[in-house]
């Protein structure tokens, strides 16, 4: 227990530094954009030079860059992400409103890709080099070559436009008056296509990792010993080979979270899902740099949290982790 806690503390300190670099880096990048929030606001509303001046003063945009960075960091310390120009609302509220949809999409897609991917990986890795392994390996490579947004479009043409089995866009039926279980079922039916589009691509990744890991384990001496002792093959595959190949997949789960978040930007835009990714696209379209900055930060925090969770899970799964770091 203390081992996991020590690891957690070490990782937390490192994460704070990393997040600080992310904040300063993205702040400076977005500062380099031509025009500021006031320009974007005036384009949509109109107004004279006097209004521009007073708005700049109001939002503190007339101050120097280091001052504004300091102000931004100070506000961040109070969990204040500032005001969105395009929506005229606090950015924190906007993000908190959209975040659950993205989390739902990500968790479901991760469960699909990890579950089905590792299962198929076990099927392929049970007999490396067999016909079944070859078919699955080539198939997963082909799947991995498919752009997620295009898969989403094709799926929606087939299942929403032609067959009319599933809704084409959104997260739930508008003003359906559904509640409780019926509402959950409604949301689930809206999630099927986006989750499939996002999850199927990464399924290939877990399949290939599982298969490669198992092929490696098969070559080890203890597996030969198990075969020699006449242990049933099915038991060797599941209890010994697959189990030993599973750990790297858990690490991948953390590394993959950033890519999944990136992928959800396009998927949410294909399915008009009101999530964080769609918000990012709206921020880009409206040149709302403070909102984009807020989204980048929240995504980074999310990725850090997922990786912390993976580290802790890893420490429980593998007793060797953390023991060598006891002195630090």
């Amino acid at each position: 227990m203390t081992r996991a806690l020590r690891l957690l503390r070490r990782r937390l300190i490192g994460s704070v530094f990393v997040l600080l670099i992310v904040v300063v880096g993205s702040f400076l990048l977005l500062e380099a954009a031509p025009g500021d929030a006031v320009d974007a606001y005036i384009v949509s509303t109109g107004g004279d030079a006097g209004l521009v001046e007073s708005l700049r003063q109001h939002w503190g945009l007339d101050q120097s860059e280091p001052t504004r960075l300091a102000n931004y960091l100070w506000a961040l310390a109070h969990l204040d992400l500032g005001q969105s120009v395009a929506f005229s609302r606090p950015i924190r509220d906007l993000i908190l409103e959209r975040l659950p949809n993205t989390l739902l999409l990500m968790v479901s897609a991760t469960a699909l890709s990890f579950g089905l991917g590792s299962l198929l990986g076990i099927v392929a890795g049970a007999r490396p080099g067999s016909a079944r392994d070859r078919i699955l390996s080539i198939g997963s490579l082909a799947l991995y070559a498919v752009p997620g947004f295009w898969l989403g479009l094709v799926l929606s043409v087939v299942f929403a436009v032609q067959l009319r089995w599933l809704p084409i866009a959104g997260i739930e039926s508008i003003a359906s008056g559904k509640a409780g279980f019926a509402r959950a079922a409604d949301i689930a039916s809206h999630l099927v296509l986006p989750v499939a589009a996002l999850g199927f691509i990464y399924l290939a990744l877990y399949l290939r990792m599982m298969r490669a890991g198992m092929a490696e384990v098969w070559r080890q001496d203890f597996v030969r010993a198990l075969i020699a002792r006449g242990i049933p093959r099915r038991r060797i595959v599941i209890r010994h080979v697959a189990r030993n190949a599973l750990l790297p997949l858990v690490t991948m789960l953390g590394l993959q979270s950033a890519q999944m978040l990136g992928g959800s930007v396009v998927i949410e835009s294909v399915f008009s899902m009101p999530g964080l990714g769609r918000l990012a696209q709206e921020a880009v379209a409206a040149r709302d740099t403070p909102l984009l900055l807020g989204i980048i930060l929240v995504s980074a925090v999310l990725v850090v949290l997922v990786n912390l969770a993976v580290d802790i899970a890893y420490a429980f799964l593998d007793p060797r982790v953390g023991t060598s770091e006891a002195r630090t």
């Binding site: 670099i21 990048l29 752009p147 479009l153």
Partner: protein, 281 residues
């Protein structure tokens, strides 16, 4: 049995997957090269009545899109954009990664710590989000798209290069270079870096493929170079008539899938070729 003298090339062509990949890539390169010769006019110019279905007019074999542009010409010119962006972005991210990884691994200490925390920071921000922000700040053009993709893809090569440099820097020839008084930077980049390159270069097929997919996604969201035909842009363009003419979005998507698959297959063949040589397979 195969002898040690068998070349890497010969081993590459023993695998049917690698041959398929090489053929796809050759066809693609040909498409990109002959695009301006076959369709000398501007692919963004109007070529016929809008939404001509495919296989109706021999002058427009794949028909036209919503604005009456020749789909086949767009497809060929799109191959150019995809290949140029994919190769340039991959080359840039491999170069950045190799330099950062070598500096971090060779210098060690505080330099290593700072560079690796920066690498961590880049890996923490979702790459696509970073590319999106970068393009929206600087403005969409081919060079900016390449830079944006490189910015989100250099971390993998940097980690691999660093790990390799860490194992190389204790070798005798490096100590020898120190003894004869070579400047540390000269040792790092002229002695260590070239020897650390093979595992970094092994990543190139995956990085080219990812770059092509990222470019397609950016163009799909309307952040590609507006003066060039891109497959992602074609898919987005066809989306407006997805119900009546799904063909317009499906064709460029198939081209994307085949391209990326070709790169993966050829890349796997090449890596297997070297792995056999090292006795890993």
């Amino acid at each position: 049995m195969r002898g040690p003298g068998m070349s890497r090339m010969a081993r590459f062509f023993r695998s049917p997957e690698a041959i398929a990949g090489a053929l796809i890539l050759a066809a693609l390169a040909l498409m990109a090269l002959v695009a301006p010769l076959l369709f000398s006019s501007d692919p963004l110019a109007i070529a016929g009545p809008p939404l001509t279905p495919p296989f109706q007019d021999w002058a427009l074999p794949l028909g036209t899109d919503r604005l009456g542009r020749d789909v086949l010409a767009e497809l060929f010119h799109g191959a150019r954009t995809s290949l140029v962006v994919g190769l340039a972005a991959a080359a840039a991210s491999l170069a950045i990664g190799a330099v950062v990884g070598t500096l971090a691994g060779f210098a060690g200490g505080l330099t290593d710590e700072v560079l690796m925390r920066v690498t961590d920071a880049f890996q923490t921000v979702p790459g696509f989000l970073l590319a999106l922000a970068f393009v929206s700040v600087v403005g969409p053009s081919l060079g900016v798209v390449v830079a944006a993709i490189a910015l989100s893809a250099w971390t993998g090569p940097a980690r691999v290069a660093r790990a390799e440099v860490l194992s190389i820097r204790e070798r005798d020839y490096v100590a020898g270079a120190r003894v004869i008084g070579m400047h540390p930077l000269e040792i790092a980049f002229r002695e260590v870096l070239p020897n650390a390159l093979p595992p970094v270069l092994a990543l190139s097929s995956v990085i080219v493929a990812a770059a092509i997919l990222t470019e397609a996604a950016l163009s799909f969201l309307g952040l590609g170079d507006p003066n060039r035909v891109t497959w992602g842009g074609m898919i987005a363009e066809g989306r407006a008539v997805l119900r009546s003419q799904p063909f317009l979005s499906i064709v460029p998507g198939v081209a994307l899938v085949l391209t990326v698959l070709g790169i993966y297959l050829a890349g796997e063949g090449a890596v297997e070729g070297t792995a056999v040589r090292r006795g890993l397979s």
